[in-house]
């Protein structure tokens, strides 16, 4: 299938084209998920018209542009079915002597193993309207040297992380899923940090200051 480009040729257009060609990478899907779904649906309709005009007998690209996001989500799920689970083989009881690191199957840090945008801390992020950022990329963030521009406060990136995207494409269901568990973990962490770094209650500021609840 040939690729379609509109005259603006933006990166989201490239990602959309790749998706329609079934060649989308995780980065493409992330790009699309971060885009305005209505805008994408309109583009799909336009591409579909062009495609039909050029190849009337070809299969329909996407039968329902309204289902576009759902298809992307399914694609994303497929993409992330790869080995994200670390398996420790033949360990026996947990307390037994572990295998050495090189003897077990660990996530592939040597290539761009997929890291998926999910609703991690999402309830807090949504509730507090602050810029939780999903850090993506595999080996790239361990080797590349790309810093992010900042004005005053910036979200945390190291000089080796890329890319990062705001959590703009979370479903409400995703946002709710981990909220309670992760808020609890954040509180536990802040509490322990308060005792470790010796700043009184001040480290709890980040927890107390966050709006609570999962439905906001």
């Amino acid at each position: 299938m040939s690729k379609f480009y509109d005259k603006h040729g933006s990166s989201s257009d490239d990602s959309l084209s790749a998706f329609l060609d079934n060649e989308a990478t995780l980065a493409d899907i992330e790009q699309l998920l971060a885009s305005d779904p209505m805008h994408l649906a309109q583009k799909v309709d336009r591409y579909q018209d062009i495609h039909q005009a050029l190849q009337p007998d070809a299969e329909v690209l996407i039968s329902d542009s309204g289902d576009f996001l759902a298809q992307m989500h399914r694609k994303m799920e497929q993409t992330t079915q790869e080995s994200n689970v670390v398996v420790f083989p033949n360990q026996g009881a947990l307390a037994t002597k572990p295998e050495k690191l090189e003897q077990v199957h660990l996530p592939n840090l040597e290539n761009n193993a997929p890291h998926t945008k999910r609703a991690f801390f999402s309830g807090l992020a949504v509730a507090a309207s602050v810029a939780f950022v999903v850090v993506l990329g595999g080996n790239a963030w361990l080797s590349d040297d790309q810093s992010f521009s900042s004005n005053n406060i910036v979200t945390a990136q190291t000089s080796t992380i890329k890319p990062a995207q705001p959590l703009t494409a979370l479903s409400a269901e995703e946002a709710l899923e981990n909220n309670e568990r992760l808020q609890n973990y954040l509180r536990q962490h802040a509490q322990q940090a308060s005792m470790t770094v010796g700043q009184g209650m001040i480290p709890m500021a980040k927890v107390v200051g966050y709006p609570q609840g999962s439905g906001q």
Binding site: V87, F88, T96, V135, A156, I161, Q199, G209
Partner: protein
Amino acid sequence: MIRALFLTTLLSLSGAVSAHSGVEWLLRMTESFDSLAYDGVFVHQEAGAMNSMRVRRGLIGGVEYESLEDLDGRRIAVIRADDSVICVFPDKEDYVAGFVPNEPFKRFQQLDKERLEQAYDISVVDKEQRIASRDAVKVTLTPKDEFRYAHRFWVDKENGFLLKHDVLGPSDALLERIQFTSVTFTPDLKASDFTPNDESYTQHFTEVEPTVVERHWHFDWLPAGFSLVWQDARRLNDNTNMLLLSDGMSTVSVFVEQTDKKRPETFMNLGATIAGEKSIQVDDKLYLLTMVGEVPAQTLQRLMAVIMPGSSND
């Protein structure tokens, strides 16, 4: 307490404040939170969000009180009276079960000079500083590697109280800031200042000893200066254990829970705080590993790659 008073007195008498090392200033800072009475307002700034908070502490009728109150938004407060902690939610819809921390904030770890010096170059900036109308001393912690962030502390020249704290990423990008805008060390505090009003929704907690369980995980690698704070694990609930790593300044919390659902490796951050999760399978059991810490993402990623079943790191 006695040590803190002695140290404070000693430093006050010396007069030569600039002669003290960065570590000594950090020690004073730590002790000041456990010895001074104070009432101050500070701003917490992180990831583009800003909150003003009020923090108070005082010894009233032999009871040690401390409180932290959100002055913006929902005005949630945490109040401590000796070993009891109360979380106050002004509105019913803000009430969150389980908000109260498992342990109050009383038992601070001692500053570990050796570990800090393994991880950071610590220095005092020889320049007049002024924060919240107080003369301050600026102490810088510059990381010796890429596995942690830089810190800048401004501590009160007179009593060591923390007046400002910046956490800086690469190229000195500001990740998180705490800065007092006003503070008094002679507050007129009463017990009633630490009593929630009858219309608020509260959650009480009285300290119990944490549940210590055998640690079943260890790290094949740790950044210089980092070590396990507890040799055992803490049980949070029937399904979740917690480990804690620290280099004396930065902390990483590790939560391990049994799960029946595989999850992709994910990292997210908010200001200086980053979190990551991944699934680990050991024999026929699946575990969800979650780490939260004020460290760069690559540190968390590496830690998540080298956590192993077993209990070494002793």
